[in-house]
């Protein structure tokens, strides 16, 4: 029986190659996108699921509640760890640790040095009580008891001591930063499952007191919070997490900073469950290379997958019911020969499953390709090997069954309801099949495609708007290069400065901190006391640089002057801050005193507003501080070029690089162009755009395949009508109009429904931006025309073929 079904199914597929191809390819597109996106969702949702005590592990973090909103810091003040250790019986383990970034580590046995080891922390045995590592050498109890002890991960052990037994490594000496002598006391296996606990080298916490972390440890009191000083805890199994939180609240209250409280600021300790760490954008994980997974991105990706899958299924339903008349005879015969309705439904569902499986096989191949295209979205750890995981396999099978049911059930029911005699006497043809449902489904497909088209155009418009909008300062032909902080001496710095100045293509050089717009900010709390009005407390962003800085970036002074010399702190404020202070005219602000960190800083100038970050955010109060009053050594060289174009740019860069190499022999030369930085502000938006482009393309392809199928079917069904009309004298054009009219009206209806949906969707998306492009009507018109043209092209080809057929032939065969 089953064999017979498969035979019939296969031969049916084979005999209707075009329709089968349409069905399989549209399902395959939907499925492969679903597979890839499903893998991404699965990947990100299965982080740190393997720890035996995963539900009891928390990271304690700090939230600062201020009148301007909340600020988050993944660190806690260092004494909290000790306080919790003494304090609480409800905690099974407390693991304070410090993240650190050593410059290099030397293996004293082989005398080899390794640069910039990452994922290094200071920790004690509490860390290994919270997280269960497998010990390959040494033991949890003693490994990090005393100062100058070091535990390596298996990976690092292999890197530093190639071809050595783990037990032989024990006792070997390693030296960090030329000064800190460490003895290896243990080797632990790396976690093999997906995890955000990525640490590789563990230095005993007691070492911190005598190393570069001294300041973080010793000077740290209850009032300081350093993101390097973090804390994991594990609650006891019978303890209530709420009580632990209460204990933390109590500690926060006991040790609150009276100064902060005066400003209305409050510190809270927050227990971040390990399970939430992967998605929590407030606190970040420890792996800075990979972007944090975003739930909202995953959800929108999921929607895209769902839509594409739906579109594929709709093609299936449409084409299957359209083809029903072809299968009608088979159904009639089977019924008269004893087949029951149920058997027929199973048969058709089986056929659908066969098709779906074919599509699945195609789509697995496709998804490897898609994994490449979407590599920007895809975390590095995600590979096609995930396909072999049992959960994924079960998901794939379930998905196939769901798709089979979704797309096969309705056609199966329609087909199996045919009355055998009606079918056998050819009464079923054309008149009473379910054209209306097919129309709804087609309209639905076109709505989705249309929404995608409009969204793509508008997102593209917004991005180009952002990139082209004036930031308020010069962004072209300006680059900056950052000197390594550890190799900075004023002497080297001046040498490089002179060398850069000597290059003819360089217009101006400035030694400063960050560029006017960047990912990094420094800020301070300021107060302004007026005689009449209430005092203004606000966070003020600070920009540091020498005298050339404002000139290089073309930032205009509206009143006052730049800093006179390097020894006094003087503020040049922007218009936003000026207005915040209550001044209408720039001149009025001059000479006023701003209080910050206990110092009195005079305003000497007012500069024009410019955007300090992407145009998503509004302009914040800012002051240009010059050199900050101290003889501080800036690390970033800002260079503006003269007469540099695409041709001589590489030459100029080369010259800069050789100047750099003469001063900093070992350090990499990384020139950052300002316009590239601005582009990077919008990486998320450009990813969205890429995603939308693909979704649009695929949605159009699937919908058009479906349309093609339906057009083929309709024209075949109407062969006789076309023949008769032709015999009676209809022209080619008239016939084409007649045949296309039906479908064009569907496209139009879809447009009418899609336009407002797209409008509100994009309007919602644009709310994240401080500067928005206009939702111009012509975008909608253009996208409607695009859809219409594509649909007409497809129909035109097909209807042309059928209307040019010789009517004698079609009438005879009918």
């Amino acid at each position: 029986m089953i064999k017979n079904y498969f035979k019939i199914a296969f031969r049916n597929l084979w005999n209707n190659k075009l329709f089968s191809l349409i069905k399989i390819s549209s399902l395959a597109i939907g499925l492969s996108v679903s597979f890839v996106i499903g893998l991404m969702v699965y990947y990100d949702f299965t982080f740190d699921k393997f720890h035996p005590d995963k539900d009891y592990i928390y990271r304690v973090t700090t939230e600062f509640v201020t009148p301007e909103g909340s600020f988050y810091n993944p660190g806690v003040s260092f004494p909290l760890g000790d306080a919790l250790k003494q304090n609480s019986a409800s905690l099974a383990a407390v693991a304070p640790f410090l993240t650190t970034y050593p410059l290099h580590i030397k293996n004293t046995v082989t005398d080899k040095t390794f640069k910039n080891p990452d994922y290094v922390i200071y920790a004690d045995k509490g860390f290994f009580n919270v997280f269960k590592y497998r010990w390959l050498a040494g033991s949890k109890e003693s490994a990090l008891e005393s100062p100058n002890q070091l535990v390596l991960s298996e990976k690092r052990a292999k890197k530093y001591f190639p071809n050595t037994n783990y037990t032989d490594i024990i006792g070997a000496h390693m030296v960090y930063n030329d000064t800190i002598n460490m003895q290896v006391t243990g080797v632990v296996a790396n976690f093999t499952e997906r995890t955000d606990i990525v640490f590789e080298e563990f230095i005993s916490l007691k070492t911190a007191h005598q190393s570069d972390m001294t300041s973080a440890v010793l000077s740290s009191n209850w009032n300081g919070t350093n993101s390097a000083s973090q804390l994991f805890i594990k609650t006891s199994k019978n303890a209530n997490a709420k009580n632990v939180q209460l204990a933390l609240n109590k500690l926060a209250k006991e040790h609150k900073d009276p100064n902060e409280a005066e400003f209305g600021n409050e510190r809270k300790f927050y227990m971040q469950p390990l399970q939430k760490m992967h998605f929590d954008t407030n606190y970040y994980t420890f792996d800075f290379d990979s972007e944090l997974a975003s739930k909202s991105v995953l959800i929108s990706l999921g929607c895209v997958a769902l839509f594409l899958l739906l579109l594929g299924s709709i093609n299936f339903i449409n084409l299957n019911t359209a083809q029903a008349t072809q299968r009608a005879k088979e159904i009639g015969v089977r019924k008269t020969l004893g087949g029951s309705k149920k058997q027929l439904i199973y048969q058709f569902l089986g056929e659908t499953f066969l098709l779906t499986t074919c599509a699945a096989i195609v789509s697995i191949v496709l998804s490897f390709w898609l994994l490449n295209i979407f590599s920007d979205y895809i975390p590095a750890g995600l590979s096609s090997e995930l396909f072999a995981e049992p959960t994924v396999i079960i998901f794939v099978v379930l998905l196939l069954l769901a798709v089979t049911f979704l797309s096969g059930f309705y056609p199966a029911v329609v087909l199996s309801h045919f009355k055998p005699i009606a079918v056998l006497k050819n009464q079923i043809i054309a008149t009473n099949d379910k054209t209306s449902l097919r129309k709804y489904l087609t309209v639905f497909q076109f709505i989705i495609a249309q929404v995608f088209i409009i969204a793509t155009l508008l997102v593209g418009k917004q991005i180009s708007f952002l990139l082209q909008k004036d930031m308020g300062f010069k962004t072209e032909a300006i680059a900056s290069v950052r000197a390594p902080w550890f190799a900075m001496t004023p002497e080297k710095q001046q040498r490089l400065l002179t060398k850069i100045k000597a290059i003819p293509e360089v217009n101006k050089v400035s030694l400063a901190e960050y560029p006017p717009a960047s990912f990094s900010t420094s800020a301070t709390n300021t107060s302004y006391f007026d005689d009449t009005n209430a005092p203004v407390h606000t966070e003020l962003q600070l920009l540091y640089g020498d005298k050339n800085y404002l000139d290089i970036y073309g930032i205009e002074l509206l009143a006052g002057r730049k800093q006179n010399n390097d020894s006094i702190t003087e503020y040049v404020i922007n218009q936003t801050y000026m207005r915040m202070l209550g001044f209408k005219k720039p001149e009025d602000a001059l000479g006023k005193i701003i209080k910050a960190d206990g110092e009195q800083n005079p305003i000497v100038g007012v500069m024009k507003d410019f955007n300090q970050r992407s145009l998503k955010t509004a302009i914040k109060p800012l002051a240009f501080v010059g050199t900050g009053g101290a003889n501080s050594s800036f690390k970033t060289f800002h260079i503006s070029f003269a007469n540099v174009n695409g041709e001589n740019l590489p030459v100029t860069t080369k010259k800069l690089e050789s100047a750099w190499n003469e001063v900093y022999t070992d350090e990499p030369f990384e020139l950052v162009f300002m316009d590239n930085t601005i582009k990077r502000f919008y990486s998320q938006e450009r990813k969205t755009a890429l995603l939308l482009n693909w979704a649009t393309g695929l949605a159009i392809v699937i919908s058009c395949l479906g349309l093609l199928g339906l057009v083929v079917y309709t024209t075949e069904r109407r062969t006789k009508e076309i023949g008769i009309r032709k015999v009676l004298g209809a022209s080619l054009l008239e016939l084409n109009v007649l045949l296309s009219k039906e479908f064009l009206s569907l496209v139009l209806i879809a447009f009418i429904i899609a336009a407002p949906i797209a409008y509100f969707g994009i309007d919602y998306w644009l709310q994240d931006f401080a500067h928005k492009t206009k939702l111009s009507w012509w975008i909608f018109a253009v996208s409607g025309v695009i859809m219409l043209l594509i649909a007409m092209l497809i129909m035109g080809v097909r209807t042309y073929i059928s209307s040019t057929k010789n009517p004698i032939k079609s009438l005879r065969t009918e």
Binding site: N4, N12, K329, G332, R334, L337, G338, G339, I421, L424
Partner: protein, 220 residues
């Protein structure tokens, strides 16, 4: 007695008017009969045949098949009844184009839960009986009309029904092929199979033991 129709009426509503397809049909068929139903187009021949074959329903009257009251049976019982006792032969053959001759013959058996070895034996038997062993792997489109109808008859016979219903079995064939098919019916009838055929041809009607003439839904 194989079946009995008593006062069968069938009508359809058209514009508020009843149009009668069958009017007061009474018919008794004994086992072993070979009946021909004749009449002009639209006289209700095929409708009557479909009602006998339980593929169509009637509005009034009684139908007993092997002493079972068909008119009061549930759909499921009815289909079991015709599955077991009735074989159909169609004017347009209605073989499944996607299946080979062998598979077409096998199909009714699949719906009747025969074991695979039984199916093989029965199909081989039929192929043998109708001399089409050599064509078993061909598809219907590769056969002539006569050969296709041969397969159609073989398929109707394969589950050894008591009654064969044939709707113009020779309608799509040339005269020579038609004659051959009628000879086969005659042979089958001799072997004890009851046959009811609808035909336009006087000559074919003479193969039967009894002729029923219909005009505008009435027996005359």
């Amino acid at each position: 007695m194989l079946l009995e129709l008593n006062n069968i009426y069938k009508w359809v509503q058209s514009g508020g008017q009843k149009i009668f397809l069958l009017k007061d049909i009474n018919l008794k068929v004994e086992e072993g009969e070979f009946i021909s139903i004749m009449g002009p187009s639209g006289s209700g021949k095929s409708t009557l045949l479909n009602i006998i074959g339980m593929l169509d329903v009637f509005n009034e009257g009684e139908y007993n098949f092997l002493d079972e009251p068909v008119h009061s049976l549930k759909e499921k019982h009815r289909s079991n009844l015709y599955k077991q006792y009735i074989g159909f032969v169609f004017q347009a053959y209605h073989l499944l184009d996607e299946l080979t001759v062998y598979e077409n013959l096998e199909m009714p058996l699949l719906y009747k839960k025969y074991s695979s070895s039984e199916r093989k034996a029965l199909v081989a038997d039929m192929l043998d009986k109708f001399n089409i062993v050599g064509k078993q792997n061909l598809f219907p489109s590769q056969l002539s009309g006569g050969q296709q109808q041969l397969v159609g008859i073989a398929r109707a016979l394969i589950s050894s029904p008591k009654l064969i219903l044939a709707d113009e079995p020779t309608g799509n064939l040339n005269s020579k092929q038609g004659e051959e098919i009628m000879e086969i019916f005659k042979e089958l009838n001799k072997d004890g199979v009851t046959i009811v055929q609808v035909t336009h041809s006087e000559k074919n009607a003479t193969y039967g033991s009894r002729t029923i003439n219909l005009l505008d839904g009435r027996k005359i």
